[in-house]
Symmetry: C2
Subunit: 246 residues, 2 copies
DNA sequence: TTTGGCTGTTGATCTTCGTCAACGAAAACA
DNA sequence: TGTTTTCGTTGACGAAGATCAACAGCCAAA
């Protein structure tokens, strides 16, 4: 499935303009090898709330998040659910080397994915140890992140959970903003890509408890809410203190 | 650092008798390549409670658990702690490709490790894509396990947490027992490698709550305690039911 | 033998967070 | 435009689990 009949350009046209070309795992591929991936890629769009795959779906594709936010979550038989991963642009979604997905996945915001059929992706990994190495490093980081999350779930109070969540989201938004030449010393203002329900499912709390803790942070002058989803961190140090040592 | 001056035997002697030779990631190495690992390996023993490395220690070695149980944990500034991983024989401990460990590690029982200096281990990984692939698969599994743990921490009740912990430990002990030719239909009896404190730190509970839930399971006839650490699961189905869908 | 430390259990009480309910604002829709 | 739905906030109340305290069994050291 080559996108145009002419002689292969150095880049696939979609890769040339891809905002995550130099941040995602594909960045380890030299231009001349990038085709091994771009030949099998399909860009897909998902609307907020749309499932990337179903419960016991086969793991059909591996994808790189181009824009938007994806949530990975688990569910108990009675409907209780827990978000176990948030994926941002340049992150990798989908379980390689397994016939089944181990989690649900849903677009938390409108999302664009760069998708590769899983089996073919695994073939490319085999041909390019560099790429597989990049995936290994990314997976090790994901594991570190998951474990950092675990101490929050198991041992932090509701207030600490909310504070560290906001702290982390502020950090994330600063990182992605770095492309634009902004002084990072500014008071961070950012938009949460998650609803209160999602935040609660992230932190193992109820929406009411999340809401109350937002209110408290507002009352204490730590944050301001431009609207329910847009947060200004007035006092980053206080927020970090409330979040407890990471 | 070759162990003997004579011509290289097919196996290092310690590998020949190693109980995890065919289960750990080194199993993907053909006998003739096994030396690339065994040449750099050092067996170390740790006593129950002994730290494998300190807080901000450099990541000096990667190891395979030969016997015993290792716990990985995180800590908040005020001492609250959370176990984020349990490692059993054939599991891999230590963070490859990072200068620092991201967790504390401690021997939960007397433990024997097969250790490799990290840098040299990473070199061997580079030379053997098969080995690196095995590490990737193991890391992906670790990530799946961490995420399964997360829904328990965030969303299960104390009773469900204890039940699923016991269920999981019973399963683990059955797996390792498979070497001996035992009918698996038996009522499982096994020994917990963890104290109540450790179990509480696993599940994000206090020791009192753990203890009360053990008592309840005993009262309901789901388990019997031979002693505080030795558990007989009288009613595996009931235990699984109490643990909620995994 | 006694002593002291460690581990685990149990009871009484307190706190945090979940549950239930009402309501307001914004967005979606007809 | 009004109507419905979704999302977030707030209050009253109750339950799950934490905290505080006492104690028993076990083992090692004196």
């Amino acid at each position: 499935m080559v996108t145009s009949p002419e002689l292969a350009p150095v880049f696939d046209r979609r890769c040339e303009t891809c905002p995550v070309r130099h941040h995602a795992i594909c960045s380890v591929l030299e231009n001349q090898h990038c085709h091994d991936l771009s030949d099998i890629m399909v860009h897909k769009h998902f609307q907020r709330g749309q499932a990337l795959w179903g419960e016991e779906d086969d793991a059909e594709f591996i994808a790189i998040v181009v824009t938007g936010t994806v949530k990975l979550f688990k569910m108990l038989s009675d409907g209780r659910q827990q978000i176990v991963g948030l994926l941002f642009p340049s992150d990798c979604v989908g379980r390689a080397f397994s016939e089944t997905q181990q989690t649900f996945a849903e677009a938390a915001t409108d999302t664009e994915l760069c998708c590769f059929p899983r089996r073919q992706f695994e073939q490319v990994l085999k041909q390019h140890p560099d790429l597989e190495h990049a995936l290994l490093e990314k997976t090790l980081n994901d594991l570190d992140n998951a474990r950092n999350w675990m101490i929050g779930l198991g041992r932090k109070t509701a207030g600490e959970k909310v504070a560290s969540f906001l702290s982390e989201m502020a950090r994330k938004s600063e990182l992605t903003k770095c492309n634009q030449h902004r002084p990072p010393a500014n008071v961070p203002i950012f938009m949460l890509p998650l609803t209160r329900v999602d935040i609660a499912d992230c932190l193992g709390l109820t929406i009411e408890t999340v809401s109350r803790n937002f209110t408290k942070l507002r009352a204490d002058g730590v944050i301001k809410s431009v609207d329910a989803r847009t947060i200004e961190v007035c006092d980053p140090e206080a927020l970090a203190r409330l979040a407890e040592a990471e």
